[in-house]
């Protein structure tokens, strides 16, 4: 009888093994160069956040949530942080937070320009799109294999995996946001003699900002998920708490880790979601959004924009 296993003659696993080994051996400097800025920023964020005294951190979170979102979310955030501290996983939560904060910076700095390139050139988008599709359909822990091979184990390689996983939504939303700018408005820009740079900065990017911020929300949540998964390759944080709990069959500890993760995720989601919904009549210019990012603003969500946000999410 002919069995399927008889066909197993293709040494794909071996080839890939050899290939990755070769890459790891010969292209090591490249990966060190990639790793370096991530390591620096992660260390910086981690030490900064850990250096903040607990009450200051709670107060800061409260104020940020209040300015960006609402008083209710601010109260929830503060309570959540106190609960996390009460469960004894404060330090791990801060580590996870610094993983996410670092990921946001890298995703924004790399992802938004890629998204802009995609929106401006159909050819680039045709190349990038299938890559994004593959990245987003691949189960997150599959990333861990090449990351371990190329970057090793620990928190910094974990951060690399987080950045890679969290980037696709931001690229997609940036591309979508620019493409969704009403055709007639783009035409108006051209008709009044805008060059490509002016068209991008005066017309497309300002109008795409709500959508890009929606992408930022997705990126934050993906980073949150991944920062837990990378515990498998030795990254510290709340994920490690859960993983250790599982390893020792300590249901209690695993549950504590899980609850802390959910609380943190909800806080970040609410705050970044509100960021993506400008106030009614607010001017979503580049400058004002940056100002809002640092100074913050309060207000009720604009029904029109939130509806549009909703549409965007459905469209994706």
């Amino acid at each position: 009888m002919f069995k399927a296993d008889d066909l197993a003659v293709l040494p794909i696993a071996q080839w890939i093994q050899l290939g990755v080994q070769w890459v790891a051996l010969h292209l090591r400097p490249i990966f060190l160069v990639i790793k370096w800025p991530i390591e620096r920023l992660l260390e910086f964020n981690n030490s900064m956040l850990h250096a903040l005294p607990f009450p200051v951190m709670v107060l800061l979170m409260f104020l940020i949530a209040w300015r960006f979102a609402s008083l209710g979310i601010a109260v929830f955030s503060a309570t959540g942080l106190v609960a996390i501290a009460a469960m004894g996983v404060w330090s791990d939560a801060i580590t996870t937070l610094s993983l996410i904060a670092t990921a946001i910076v890298f995703c924004a700095v790399i992802g938004i320009p890629i998204g802009i390139f995609c929106a401006r050139s159909e050819r680039v988008w045709r190349i990038v799109r299938p890559i994004l599709d593959i990245m987003q359909t691949t189960p997150t822990f599959v990333y861990l294999v090449p990351v371990v091979m190329l970057f090793g184990v620990g928190t910094v390689p974990g951060e690399v995996a987080v950045v890679i996983t969290a980037m696709p939504p931001l690229i997609r939303f940036t591309h979508l946001g620019i493409r969704m700018v009403e055709h007639e408005i783009v035409e108006a820009g051209l008709a009044f003699g805008a060059n490509r740079r002016q068209l991008l900065w005066e017309v497309q990017l300002p109008l795409a900002i709500p959508t890009i911020l929606g992408g930022l929300n997705q990126t934050v949540l993906t980073a949150m998920v991944m920062s837990v998964v990378v515990a498998m390759i030795g990254a510290e944080g709340l994920g490690l708490v859960v993983l250790q709990g599982l390893g020792r069959l300590d249901v209690g500890q695993a549950a504590v880790g899980g609850i802390a993760i959910v609380l943190l995720a909800m806080m970040l989601d609410r705050i970044t979601q509100k960021l993506a919904q400008p106030r009614p009549g607010a001017r979503a210019t580049l400058v004002s959004t940056l100002v809002r990012l640092f100074v913050g603003s309060r207000g009720v969500p604009d029904p029109v924009t939130s509806e549009r946000q909703h549409d965007v999410k459905e469209a994706l």
Partner: protein
């Protein structure tokens, strides 16, 4: 007349390689034949026209007739496939990118159907938009924007956001933005089509008022024949990418030239389109005494004649019999006073309102001098021309 904008044999095929389609069109094949054979959509098929300086030039057609394509070819939002567009003798189609930008910034501006305002900018910043792209410094462009906003009557709304304005006001902003750059050519692409009827009428009147002082060359795209008649000094009618009729509103209504055009003219309110001067019978002097002039029909055919004083002001009328008597050597009888005088540029609808029962109607020029006589029968024939001839044929 010096032509400001000349369009010569313009073709537009929506395809990367239009050569084959162009060859077919030049061989006289139609838009649908090209679509069937090559699967390429033809936007414009050999359009030539010339827009005089300061004209309000209407491009009229149904959707898919190529009117918007034509307008967008002029500032090359659509790239023409073949042909020339001469703006004061300079071929726009031959310009490189930076010169084209210059033309768009300084010579041609545009008003859009759905306003196309930047929703994240204040009204005044929207008006400044073109000047900002041109690199005018902030203070100067703000001053200019304020001026233009004043012209369209929105100075009090300068600091509001576009979504706080009504449709008509938004289009005023769109118009102000186009005027701010001081371009000589203004393309208005279905500019009033998205407005409700009352506001649209108001905007049309506003545009006519503005045009009297601005004297720009305006290309106005519309699918509404009534609008074309009301605003236009000339009208070009398009169908299937071709120019089917071009002329003044009155000449098009009088001689549509094809069933397609005649179909538009059927509903036209001729009483509002034609003036007394276009229907009147010209009169000549038939008798003269030292201080009286009698004007009547040149052939001497029976008809009411008018008696004028030495300054050509109308005193009264004489019937055909009275004229015969006078010609026979009798004294000039006392003229009858039951007449009406209208100016030559009075619309027929107003003339009809002033008609008195069987009193003759005289037509005078701007100085009040008599130039003709208006017969009620002729007037009715002109007003009713559509149902008499058009009704049978179309």
């Amino acid at each position: 007349m010096t032509a400001c904008l000349n369009i010569e044999h313009l073709y537009k095929v929506f395809a990367d390689r239009p050569d084959q389609a162009l060859a077919m069109l030049r061989a006289g094949k139609s838009k649908s034949e090209v679509l069937e054979k090559l699967g390429q959509v033809v936007g414009l098929d050999d359009v030539s026209l010339s827009v005089p300086c300061g004209a309000m030039y209407m491009i009229m057609g149904l959707s898919g007739s190529g009117k918007s394509t034509l307008a967008r070819c002029i500032n090359r939002l659509n790239e023409p496939s073949a042909g020339r567009i001469l703006l004061d003798g300079e071929d726009i189609c031959a310009l490189d990118e930076s010169h084209l930008r210059d033309v768009r910034r300084k010579r041609i501006s545009m008003v859009f159907q759905h306003f196309a305002l930047l929703p994240n900018r204040r009204v005044i910043e929207n008006v400044e938009f073109g000047l900002k792209l041109r690199g005018v410094d902030a203070k100067q462009r703000r001053r200019r924007a304020e001026e233009v906003l004043h012209v369209v009557g929105l100075e009090r709304w300068a600091l509001h956001m576009p979504h706080e304005l009504s449709g008509g006001m938004r289009q005023r902003v769109g118009l102000a933005r186009a005027l701010a750059t001081d371009a000589d050519v203004l393309i208005m692409d279905e500019a009033f089509s998205a407005l409700d009827p009352l506001i649209r009428t108001e905007m049309q009147d506003e545009l006519l008022r503005l045009q009297r002082t601005l004297n720009k060359t305006i290309l106005f795209i519309t699918h509404d024949f009534q609008e074309a008649l009301k605003l236009g000094t000339r009208i070009a009618i398009m169908s299937e990418g071709r120019l089917v009729r071009e002329g003044t509103p009155q000449s098009i209504v009088l001689e549509p030239g094809s069933d397609y055009v005649a179909a538009f003219t059927r509903e036209v309110d001729r009483a509002r389109l034609f003036d007394a001067g276009s229907v009147m019978t010209s009169l000549v002097e038939i008798l003269r005494s030292p201080n009286r002039i009698v004007m009547g029909d040149p052939s001497g055919a029976p008809g009411v004649a008018f008696v004028l004083d030495a300054d050509a002001q109308v005193l009264g009328t004489l019937s055909a019999e009275q004229i015969e008597v006078t010609r026979g050597g009798g004294a000039l009888p006392q003229p009858e006073a039951g007449f009406t005088c209208v100016r030559a540029d009075t619309r027929l609808v107003e003339v009809a309102g002033r008609c008195r029962a069987d009193g003759p109607i005289g037509v005078v020029d701007n100085a009040g001098r008599l130039i003709g006589r208006l017969e009620v029968g002729q007037m009715l024939a002109r007003i009713g021309a559509s149902s008499a001839t058009g009704g049978r044929h179309v």
